[in-house]
Amino acid sequence: MNQPELTITPSAVVITPGHEVLMEASPYGVDKKKLGMWIFIVSDACTFGAFLFAYGYMRIGTPVWGTPFGFSSIVNGMVMTAVLLSSSLTMLAAVRASQSRAKASANKWLGVTMFLGTVFAALHLREWFKLIGEGWRLFYNPTGGAPQFGATFFSVTGLHLTHVVTGVIALAIIARGYTQGRYDESHVETAGLYWHFVDLVWMFVFPLMYLMNAH
């Protein structure tokens, strides 16, 4: 408080409209949207990780777990996997197209990705309804094994399904904005990052929840 008042350092450069603001380079060389999406992915991975930890903890500690998935369920699961992997490929095509400013092509590939995502969700829900029809619930195992199967299966796959559906909606919003010129290729790329993450999570969920529970 005894310090003589320091004046604001004079700056020769004033920021004017159109004048690029001088900043330090981003250490990862990515724009902030993409960095933000990466950070979100790290956190979401921890969330999925916690669910899978709970699944592992329960499964290892339970003598009779129950393995409800027969041949048709596994085939369905493999088709779902193929659909989701393909959707990642089409998403990649959309990103490449947007980077080359091929707007129509990018929109086309975005549309295909959304379609494949919807197919995945539909197949998933079909699987769910089949299980529910057989008596499976969050809290009930019709084969007499641990009720935790339903709890872990529906909650983990449900969380993933939520991410897929949210992703499809997000892609729709991005596609609309991209068409109207409000969004550019960086938005498409950021959305693509999310989509690839959702696909990656499935590559963990499918073996852990389906293949390990096949009979």
Partner: protein, 607 residues
């Protein structure tokens, strides 16, 4: 009709227009100053307004949390006393003003929940961090201003949900802020407050998790991508380093608390048995659950819960490290590197020690040894940090303004709290001290009071920058002295009664060995009430100074970082259109002389 569409279109244009403005350049947000009361003060995307909103929220939460603790302490010291106000507010919980045992536990649960989340995680991080971080790195705002606004309002909703537990007939839950299953998971059969109270609690915490995750994301991207020219990472102010490291810990820890709450809610409402084993009987009724594990809840909760206490303390480390050089007029020993790498060490190790909350929990005793080792090792970076602060005082020219006094208080309290940790980190000694008031004293010193003292230091330090007026020094000093003595009276005594085995979370003292400890508990209660009264000195000072305090100069403390190189309060875009270029680190102090980070002059300090 036409008018409605027109105004809707205008609103849409404004909203989407904002996005357009933000997509230019690789980071800077070029939005125009808001107009109108709602845009300026309520739905603002300006990080400064949001920071103040968080600060006010945590102030309100702090007084609510404190009031809860006063009610608790009155009941403990004078169990037969009737508290008329309490009787009016809670006719079920305190009929005729006399607190029931279950209501004591409910108040205790909400005291912990509100303080840990809405005060300690909010104020030093979201409050000051939001206001200061963008300015300290030389940016015009956070990386994602609208996400920032969402973070605050989601936090606010979380707080409302927590407060809602008080107004429902069955009252707040009584399972503690730790909400162990199956007490928290089986539903209303477990006791009063365990019906809708616990559901609302779970929702409140889950909502808070989401808000925290969004906030952490914003902080990280802002520090990495929005630094102005010359603001290399090695020149970041130490408070920014604290917030940055804290944001990473927050990101990973809250990401695990969220599913924990979701699984708990599923057990309660969805009939699942994640945490509920078979064979449980309440009121002679067998519960329809089986196969779950209470220890799973503890693992998931404490995997978050231990990093949480470091989430609370790391901003405090940063704030004190930032404030000290200003008032000792020299850089910290070891420069920015030693203290920052200690913080990184503490933050990283915090993820591998959670089992020390579970030594006697029924977890494998071998795991107890496994967790004990890193728990003891985390002492090392903490000790390094303390040594840096203490030995920076050597040979300095200390100015004992209120922010400095609170910083010194912080150091003393953190030493005291940390020492208690030695006892609790070893399973053999913890087997006696677990669940005693020793633990209560320990965590109040470390995460409660140290963090609060650092927050007060930050408040007195930055008030002038945030509001353009100086706080009253004399009142500030009174606040410090009374608080410092008060907190030791309350919480050091708890360490001592803990050695006698006094059990925590008891609403009354009926055990033979607890009776002789009643005088000590009365002393604690009296000290706690006086301590609480002292906080009104602070509140009065803050409110009075906001309206009538002497106008603040731009740099009253003679500090060097970017927030002091702008007006008090800063203009809308933080720097009045100036291009900020950084030439120096944040600790260019040499007695009377100092060099601002943005100054083109030569360095003064040999950092």
């Amino acid at each position: 009709m036409e008018k409605t569409f027109a105004s809707a279109r205008r609103a849409k244009t404004l909203f989407w227009g904002e996005i357009m403005a933000e997509t230019s350049a690789h980071g800077a947000a070029h939005h125009a100053p808001p107009q109108g009361f709602i845009s300026k003060y309520i739905l603002s995307v300006d990080h400064k307004v949001i920071g103040i909103q968080y600060t006010i929220l945590s102030l309100v939460a702090a007084f609510v949390g404190m009031a809860l603790s006063w009610a608790m302490r009155i009941h403990l010291a004078w169990p037969d006393v009737h508290i008329p106000l309490l009787g009016m507010l809670a006719p079920n919980g305190a009929p005729g003003g006399q607190m029931t045992p279950e209501y004591y536990l409910s108040l205790m649960t909400m005291h912990g929940t509100i303080m840990a989340f809405f005060v300690l995680t909010a104020a030093p991080f979201a409050g000051f961090g939001n206001f200061m971080l963008p300015i300290q790195v030389g940016a015009a705002d956070m990386a994602f201003p609208r996400l920032n606004r969402a973070s605050f309002w989601v936090t606010f909703v979380g707080f409302l949900l927590a407060c809602a537990t008080f107004v429902i007939p069955d009252g707040p839950p009584l399972s503690g802020w730790t909400a162990y299953a199956p007490l928290s998971a089986v539903g209303a059969v477990a006791g009063p407050g365990q019906g809708w109270g616990q559901n609302l609690w779970g929702l409140s915490v889950a909502v808070f998790c989401i808000a925290s995750l969004l906030g952490a994301l914003n902080f990280i991207v802002t520090v990495l991508d929005l630094r102005t020219k010359g603001m290399k990472l090695s020149r970041l102010p130490l408070s920014t380093w604290g917030w940055f490291i804290d944001a990473w810990v927050s990101l990973l820890a809250f990401a695990v608390l969220l599913p924990t709450c979701l699984l708990l809610v599923l057990d309660r409402l969805g009939g699942t048995s994640f945490f509920i084993p078979g064979g449980l009987v309440f009121n002679d009724q067998l519960q329809p659950h089986s196969g779950g594990s209470p220890l799973l809840f503890q693992h998931l909760f404490w995997f978050f819960g231990h990093p949480e206490v470091y989430i609370i303390i790391l901003p405090a480390f940063g704030i004190v490290s930032h404030i000290l050089p200003t008032f000792i007029r020299k850089p910290l020993v070891g420069g920015w590197k030693v203290i920052t790498f200690s913080e990184i060490g503490v933050g990283t190790l915090s993820f591998v020690v959670w089992g020390h909350h579970m030594f006697v929990s029924g977890m494998s005793p071998y795991m107890a040894m496994v967790f004990s080792v890193p728990t003891l090792f985390i002492t090392i970076p903490s000790v390094i940090a303390v040594l840096v602060w203490v030995f920076s005082l050597y040979g300095s020219n200390i100015r004992f303004d209120t922010p400095m006094l609170f910083s010194l208080g912080f150091i003393s309290l953190f030493i005291s709290g940390g020492i208690g940790g030695f006892f609790l980190a070893q399973p053999s000694t913890d087997s006696y001290l677990h669940a005693t008031t020793f633990v209560v004293g320990h965590f109040h010193f470390t995460m409660g009071l140290s963090a609060i003292f650092a927050t007060f230091a930050g408040f007195y330090y930055w008030f002038s920058k945030m509001f353009g007026r100086m706080m009253n020094e004399k009142l500030g000093k009174w606040h410090f002295w009374l608080s410092f003595v008060g907190v030791y009276c309350v919480f050091m005594t708890m360490h001592l009664t803990g050695f006698a085995g006094a059990v925590r979370r008891y609403s009354a003292f009926v055990d033979d060995f607890m009776i002789p400890l009643i005088p000590a508990n009365r002393f604690i209660s009296v000290a706690a009430l006086l301590l609480g009264a002292t906080q009104f000195v602070f509140l009065y000072n803050a409110i009075w100074s906001f309206f009538k305090g002497p106008k603040a100069p731009d740099n009253p403390w003679g500090a060097t970082t970017l927030e002091w190189d702008t007006t008090s309060p800063p203009p809308f875009d933080n720097f009045g259109g100036r291009q900020m270029i950084v030439h120096h680190g944040p600790m260019e102090y040499d007695g009377e002389a100092s060099v601002m980070q943005t100054s083109a002059e030569a360095s003064v300090a040999g950092t």
